[in-house]
Subunit: 220 residues, 6 copies
């Protein structure tokens, strides 16, 4: 009801509520540059997971994993937006995981882009955008997780698969299949160039079909 | 999918996700007493409200309002449960407000009771309850907000009404209309005994109809 | 010696030092409104109680109970003051419990009002008040705790009684017996309308005699 | 009423409430050594000073000055006690400044010793002391501030003098005039050996008369 | 002088002090598994950079970037070690940047491996290792940063280049050129598969020559 | 490479990196006074000591010892500088202990003065100093630790001696042997006037030879 953009994204059993909050103006260090600002914050509800986690607010500090994912979402969104065309407006995208079953960071990025698009459209409708919606969002972003399980490359791992994966990779692509960010980790050992290439192929294909789903959700 | 009890409660445009998390055993200071333990934590998503609030995890501290409401929900739930019949089990009820439009604390209590009932039933199904479900939950609890607006007593205020209310009262009752907790505040000035009595009448009636809705939701 | 108003209030064995600190000007968000601001902070010395509690400064966070009481005192004082007549001045009332034996929050409110009166008089003496002392403080506030012990309503519980009380209620009234805030809790179970009414009668009478004591202390 | 030892010490207009809290047993790292443990915590009420300071609990951290003084008081008290004769008991001395007018740390040490003596006597009365009171406290400690103002050595500076002092020194002595701790600071520039010697003479004499006052307060 | 392993690694003008601290035993949740534990903490001295940054200890919280890098170093080291052959010992690798000029995280990983090797050798010399040094460290790890500047792939960017890079990639490889972790980010826009492949070629070659330098430093 | 002044000071096996960071302008409360500002922050790397200490950034709070030493270094440096001749510039001196073997605070002060001298010279070279280098730094400061071990006065204690010392004293002097700060503690019991005088003699002589070393390092 309240946010300028909001999406409930579902990837398998994973559910993430992505909301976009627009503020006119930018942080002080950016004033007068003509550029806007986009950031993101990610968090999990305490019982989004199989066992309950303590709230970070109660612990009094944001954990390393939360920080890392928030930063990844923010960087990915900034790859999709032209901050000059946005003008001196700030958009915060909150990604709150209601239910987790693997792939929460990639679901967050994919949903966050849609919320961001809505927010930019909202700004355009109020004549507060420096450019057009198209110039402000020249490319879409979407993300998938891929991994190798029992020697087999797999797309979009659920939690149980994620735990078993020998290699785990998060791929963020534009709607035309260019890379925005690639993070690959040999969770249990290492991986070679061939495996890397297979995972990239799988990931790019996954991102392209998500881009189609985003366009459909946005009625484009 | 994950919690032992979970409810999405809707009061007008207010939406609160209440989940119950069961742990066998109790905190150290309670071990060996034969008594269980029930607590609650309340929080709001940053954009549940008309303008975005900073996350308490990012600020590094839980605010006074959050503390106060978490404590109120916990006390209310402990009024409904027999901790001896619960046995040495712990239940945490998380109430996360997804969308706020007034009455989030009373909606939380009303939903939390249903999630608690589910969790107690779950324990009974696993033969981990010291008593029966009926002995563990001898009375239900539900809550409403009432207030005086332009001199008129009103039930279940939305945000806009809440801001304008001269008197604001939260009433927590059992399913038979006894009081568990009453908190009345003269937001703008003071109130007299007559007004107090009118608000109590209205509040008790509201709680009784919520108790009926709870029974229906639980199939009782 | 230093504060603009200060009172050492004694309720039974409970001792609370209430000081009022005046600052010209108001917080930034209130500037230019012509309205003043009154807040309160409550705390306990570590050995005010039967066993020593850790300092909240050392724990690095203010606890839920402290927050809740600070907010209650602040709301109660703001019910007594006309912020317009106060003008753009800020008053902080600190209530520090030197020795606790039940009823520390109600003793704090009762003492805090006297310290507030002194501070407002101090401002008037320096011609810094927008209105007169009478217009700035149109009504006094005082508070008592009441409870039901062994089925009997009782006024002003000491710690030992407070622990045994079946129902525990804090009542804040003006000098003419109107309600500012009522907080009733069924510590051990629930309470009915009759018990509620008896406690209100007792509480209002208690507040009225405290109001007389306040007038005497202030030489009014 | 509650503490095992408590003293309200007055030095000029300075008022410090010193309480001693006894716990049987010692921190884990000290268990089984046969040695006791004595620590101290110092704090100021927010309006003990001419202008109000923010509470350290609200700021979420203990300041450097508070830490420094707490550590000084603890070291001074441990110089007076035989931890072996104390046995495996812990004593925390809280020094809370109710009103400050210079010399709060030296007043705290002087009062803390008396509270400590009471606590040790309390332990002896309950047969919980490994040795006698005399063997547990073989020497008393007291402290004074001295300084040079307008070239003149002065004893026991009030706040206004303290601010003007060119040299500021805190001297902690035993009842026989031996040094426990000496901290001298050239607040405004430096000091030479002659000035140092004059301040030491003055400080030792001051500590000796405080030791007599302590004996009188304790009825020794 | 003190650590069980220590290295001062220099990459261009970047200087990182890597120390390895060994503790017998493992955290509680790992006890009895026969497995060891390796973690890492990364930090920068306040003036390691061109302008001074506030200390994270003074700010009271560890920043997102610090968390992210500490986690990356830890994962990379755990890819090199066989925790079973390590036995129930814990090793913490501290990487403190004394002077920064780009590539501090990759320099840290490369130096940290050498400090880890020293610590494992130290354990072997004391017969505290479950296996041999070779079985405990079956593969080495080293890391480089690569990037595209003005359309040209470049190895080991200094700070000024890093800021200008269109694509920035950190590559962690074993001594035989397998991948441990790859993190590629399109800082300014996006990158395609060809650019990706060029950067991987360059990065693997860089890691292999660092592996040779590590062997030389360790006298292998 | 980056700081306006930097020194790696060695006292025995103790190594402290002292850097000076200059900022034009002063904190807000000092603006317009024509006076500059000098502060210092002290910290230890986690494995500077024989066993690893947890990082204060990870613990989320700066410890009492760290605070105390930072304040001591800051006071000592402010005794050497004329803040009027410095003009409205701020200098922060960071003292980070890379390796500790006793006397880290006195080594820090001695090195910090040299870094401060470099920073003041740097300001003079850019014509940003209100006065000359000589007028801005009218006196040098240096510090030593002295103590009594087995009844013998000793200069510059290493860690092992420091632990065994009966009396421990830190002496900060100017280049002409005047006192800036003296802190003497009877670690194990007390000390008399004779012992005090012997330690002062030894300390002043130590400071004078350090002052000569500082002049040499600065080429004066």
């Amino acid at each position: 009801m309240h946010p300028e953009g909001s999406v409930l994204v579902e990837f398998g059993a994973t559910r993430v509520l992505c909301t976009a909050s627009v503020t006119e103006g930018v942080p002080r260090w950016r004033k007068g540059t003509g550029l806007g600002w986009v950031t993101s914050e990610y968090a999990m509800l305490p019982r989004a997971t199989t066992t309950r986690s303590d709230r970070e607010s109660v612990k009094g500090r944001v954990g390393g994993r939360t920080h890392e994912i928030s930063r990844l979402i923010g960087r990915s969104l900034r790859a999709s937006i032209d901050l000059k065309a946005l003008g001196e407006n700030s958009i915060v995208i909150d990604c709150d995981v209601l239910q987790a079953d693997g792939g929460t960071r990639t679901a967050s990025i994919t949903g966050a882009y849609v919320a961001l698009y809505d927010a930019v459209t909202w700004l355009a409708g109020r004549k507060k955008l420096a450019g057009t919606v198209e110039s402000a969002l020249p490319r879409s972003v979407a993300a998938v997780s891929v991994g190798i399980i029992d020697g087999e490359p797999r797309l979009d791992l659920c939690y149980e698969e994620d735990v078993r994966a020998e290699v785990d990779m998060n791929i963020v692509c534009t709607g035309t299949g260019d890379f925005v960010e690639v993070q690959g980790t040999g969770e249990d050992g290492v991986f070679n160039r061939d495996q890397f290439n297979q995972l990239l192929d799988l990931g790019v294909a996954g991102c392209l079909s998500l881009a189609a789903a985003q366009r459909e959700a946005l009625g484009l």
